[in-house]
């Protein structure tokens, strides 16, 4: 290895505290005061630049967040403390905690909360389990795996509206495909719309159909990061595919599973389009007996059908608080999980 020409050990390591240009500067004549000032100014500007430019770069996000995220959030909170009607949204009358205390005694609110919970459970649990299974299958070496991966994602790409309208037809009482196929195997048709459980299962089916593929792909991505030698050594120990899945795949996927649980829970709490459109009459009541009215739907009904913006805001904030609670519970759970490992 030869040193480049002109390279001498003396200049290789400049004295501490000086820049790389120090040797040449040392030989140059002392700068005149004007030049010195210019340099000072430049370095001050440089420091300011380094300090504040990043803020300028991220500012657009925060400006938009403030305008379209934070402001509506706070304004909704403010509105929830007032009596406001959509017929005259600028006229607000102070109501204190009335909208909230009213919710406490509102049987429709509790029913909606209960429905949201049950629909959330019967849509999220099977959905994630199926997604895990599908991901496991897709993780095998198989022909045209790309095709299958894209195929399972297509439901996710369809719009809620289109999917729900089709499902509402499938679950029709007299002319629906589901009852027709039940009839083929000699079973009576089910009145999907009108029963509490049947309607909730029907709504959950739409959710499951739309989101299973999405979650499967997330699991698949995580599975591919699981080191292959784990499987190999498991196989050497004589573990079956099922055992491998239970004892290698699932434990390695724990953080991913937790993530999907959280995301799905948030989605379930905000469930709106499916129950709205599942009602073929297009009303926001969530069925004749409000049997599948979710919190989102109830908020919509209060705000945009009954025109009580204040109460709708209170429902929105209550939903927000419920989500915060879920997030807190999840954080606790995640910490436990990490400690136990």
């Amino acid at each position: 290895m030869t040193a480049p020409s002109g390279f001498t050990p003396d200049t290789a390591a400049p004295p501490a505290g000086q820049g790389g240009a120090a040797p040449r500067a040392a030989t140059a004549p002392a700068p005149d005061p004007a030049e010195q000032r210019r340099r000072d100014r430049r370095s001050r500007r440089y420091r300011l630049d380094v300090r504040w430019s990043p803020y300028a770069f991220v500012a657009p996000f925060f400006v938009f967040f403030a305008a379209f995220g934070l402001f509506p959030l706070l304004y909704t909170g403010w509105a929830s403390l007032h009596q406001v009607e959509l017929t005259n949204p600028t006229h607000m009358e102070w109501a204190g905690w009335h909208n909230y205390s009213r919710l406490w005694e509102d049987e429709f609110f509790w029913k909606a909360l209960r429905n949201t919970f049950t629909i959330g459970v019967i849509s999220t649990v099977p959905q994630l389990m199926m997604a895990l299974g599908i991901a496991h299958l897709l993780n095998y070496r198989l022909r045209a795996s790309m095709f299958f991966r894209v195929a399972i994602l297509t439901p996710y790409a369809t719009s809620v509206a289109a999917a729900t309208l089709v499902f509402a037809l499938l679950f029709g009482h007299d002319y629906g495909m589901v009852n027709w196929s039940l009839g083929l195997v000699g079973l009576d048709g089910v009145d999907w719309q009108n029963g509490t459980w049947t309607s909730q299962i029907a709504v959950s089916t739409i959710v499951i159909w739309r989101w299973t593929g999405y979650n499967a792909l997330i699991y698949l991505a995580a599975m591919q990061a699981v080191p292959n030698d784990l499987y190999e050594s498991a196989a050497l120990d004589g573990a079956s595919r099922w055992k491998q899945f239970l004892h290698v795949t699932v434990p390695s996927l724990r953080p991913t599973i937790l993530f999907t649980v959280v995301v799905s829970t948030i989605g379930a709490t905000q469930l709106f389009g499916e129950p709205l459109l599942f009602n073929t009459a297009g009303t926001a009541t969530g069925g004749a007996d409000h049997q599948y009215q979710t919190l989102g739907l109830y908020m919509y009904e209060q705000g945009w059908v009954n025109l009580h913006l204040g109460r709708a805001s209170a429902i929105a904030w209550t939903m927000f608080l419920i989500l915060l609670l879920i997030a807190a519970a999840n954080a606790l759970f995640a910490r436990r999980l990490r400690k136990s490992q």
């Binding site: 430049r42 500007r45 440089y46 630049d49 430019s53 300028a56 770069f57 500012a59 657009p60 400006v63 938009f64 305008a67 009596q83 009607e85 959509l86 017929t87 005259n88 949204p89 600028t90 509102d106 049987e107 429709f108 509402a168 037809l169 029709g172 009482h173 007299d174 002319y175 009145d191 719309q193 009108n194 073929t280 009459a281 297009g282 009303t283 926001a284 009541t285 004749a288 007996d289 409000h290 705000g303 945009w304 059908v305 009954n306 025109l307 009580h308």
Partner: protein, 444 residues
């Protein structure tokens, strides 16, 4: 050093770009409110024509009946754009938000009869007084239609388009098979004067109901039809809600739940897919038939049942539904909009609309015009619908409207009666559920 200044410059460029982008986005958002009037920047298009926008819900038929084309031929400097919001349930909240912010409004906004009272009582100052417009004649319109859109101070904010005078549409062939009279005059006679007689006829029909077809489509439809014949329905004269003990509501409720209990109804919910399918498959023999229902029957029952349907008078004259055209103060082309709204609701145009779209005129002056007076529909066995519906419209009582009519009506049919019919609950339970839902909706 040079590198620094260089990056300074590029950073400045980036910052400027970001700022410009941000400003662009922000101004884009600020413009958003005007999007409702698609493509009408400042009310003029490239050819220098004035664009008048019309906001409607569902099919109001102006375009389909060729009225826009006719108007633009008469006024070559005008272009008309219609923004349809479907389903109709999304239309009203949007109209209210746009009124609240004063932007995004079309030059002409349609208002449904269920909402007209709320708009008239709470938003009158945001609309143009159409009673003073050139060419508007109060006496052209049905008195009660005119009154519905007139505020206490005499300001009229909406011009009536169609109304929904009531008849009963029935399957002539099924009536014959069931041994009931099939001729439309005899059928009208059968239940003249009382909805109870209509149910009695239904009980006779049910004894020999041919082909498994129910007598009527839904308890909800019957409820709406019966309730629409009274002047006091959900609100009394002083504006107090009386849906809990109003005689009209109670009577109609009893009728509707009786029909359901006697298994006269096909247990459908009107205008839903199953209801349309039942029409297509001939699953019921009668349906309460405001004029606009003819179009629905024709569309969904289809060619298969052409000539088998007929129209008889309803037991009592009643009106169900109808719309108004209004011009918001914030409209961009207020003057042109007023002219267009006046023209569209003039008797001649309403008659044309009836001829093409079966929207029944609220302009009584149109009833003597040949398009209405001599109207017969081949699909309905050449029933003289012009005569039947004009009679019903003239005899309909002036209905007292209230702000929440639409919501209350919906909760009675879609919560209360649906629980009784489709969920098998008792009439009492259904009533309580409807009242509770309504209390919740009206409670501020």
């Amino acid at each position: 050093m040079r590198r620094n200044t260089g990056s300074h410059r590029s950073r400045a460029v980036v910052l400027a770009a970001v700022a410009a982008l941000g400003a662009g986005l922000l101004s884009g958002c600020a413009d958003d409110g005007d999007d409702g009037s698609a493509g009408s920047s400042g009310g003029g298009d490239s050819k220098g024509k004035t664009v008048v926008t019309v906001g409607t819900y569902g099919v109001m038929g102006f375009k389909q009946a060729g009225l826009y084309d006719e108007y633009t031929k008469l006024h070559p400097d005008i272009k008309i754009e219609e923004n349809v919001i479907d389903p109709a349930s999304n239309y009203y909240p949007q109209l209210l938000t746009h009124l609240g912010s004063g932007s995004g409004l079309a030059d002409i906004q349609a208002v449904e009869v269920g909402n007209i009272n709320e708009v008239t009582t709470t938003q009158a100052d945001k609309f143009v007084d159409l009673s003073k417009a050139d060419g508007v004649k109060k006496e052209n319109f049905l008195d009660w239609k005119w009154a519905q859109a007139t505020a206490k101070d005499g300001k009229t904010i909406g011009l009536g388009t169609d109304v929904g005078p009531m008849a009963i549409c029935y399957r002539k062939d099924l009536f014959q098979q069931a041994g009931l009279p099939a001729d439309r005059d005899a059928v009208s006679e059968l239940w003249a004067g009382d909805w109870q007689k209509y149910l009695d006829a239904g009980k006779d029909y049910a004894k020999k109901a041919p082909g498994g077809a129910a007598f009527l489509d839904s308890a909800g439809g019957l409820f709406n039809a019966a309730v629409s014949g009274s002047s006091e329905v959900y609100y009394d004269k002083s504006g107090k809600p009386i849906y809990k003990d109003g005689p009209a509501v109670k009577k109609a409720w009893k009728l509707a739940t009786d029909a359901s209990a006697s298994k006269l109804s096909a247990k459908l919910q009107e205008f839903t897919k199953p209801w349309q399918q039942a029409l297509a498959n001939g699953k019921f023999a009668t349906v309460s038939c405001p004029a606009w229902m003819l179009g629905q029957i024709k569309e969904y029952a289809g060619d298969k049942y052409k000539g088998k349907w007929d129209v008889a008078a309803a037991p009592q004259p009643a009106n169900w539904g109808g719309s108004f055209l209004s011009v918001p103060q914030a409209a961009k082309n207020k003057d042109e909009a007023v002219k267009l709204a006046t023209w569209l609701t003039a008797p001649e145009q309403q008659a044309k609309l009836f001829e093409k779209q079966a929207s029944f005129p609220s302009a009584q002056a149109a009833y003597s015009l040949p398009q209405v007076a001599d109207a017969k529909l081949p699909y309905f066995n050449n029933a003289p619908i012009g005569k039947i519906f004009s009679q019903a419209a003239k005899d309909s009582p002036t209905q007292i409207l209230g702000p929440k009519d639409a919501v209350i009506k919906q909760n009675f049919t879609d919560v209360g009666l649906l629980q009784v019919e489709q969920q098998g609950k008792s009439a009492d339970e259904g009533w309580k559920a409807a009242i509770k839902t309504n209390d919740n909706a009206l409670d501020q």
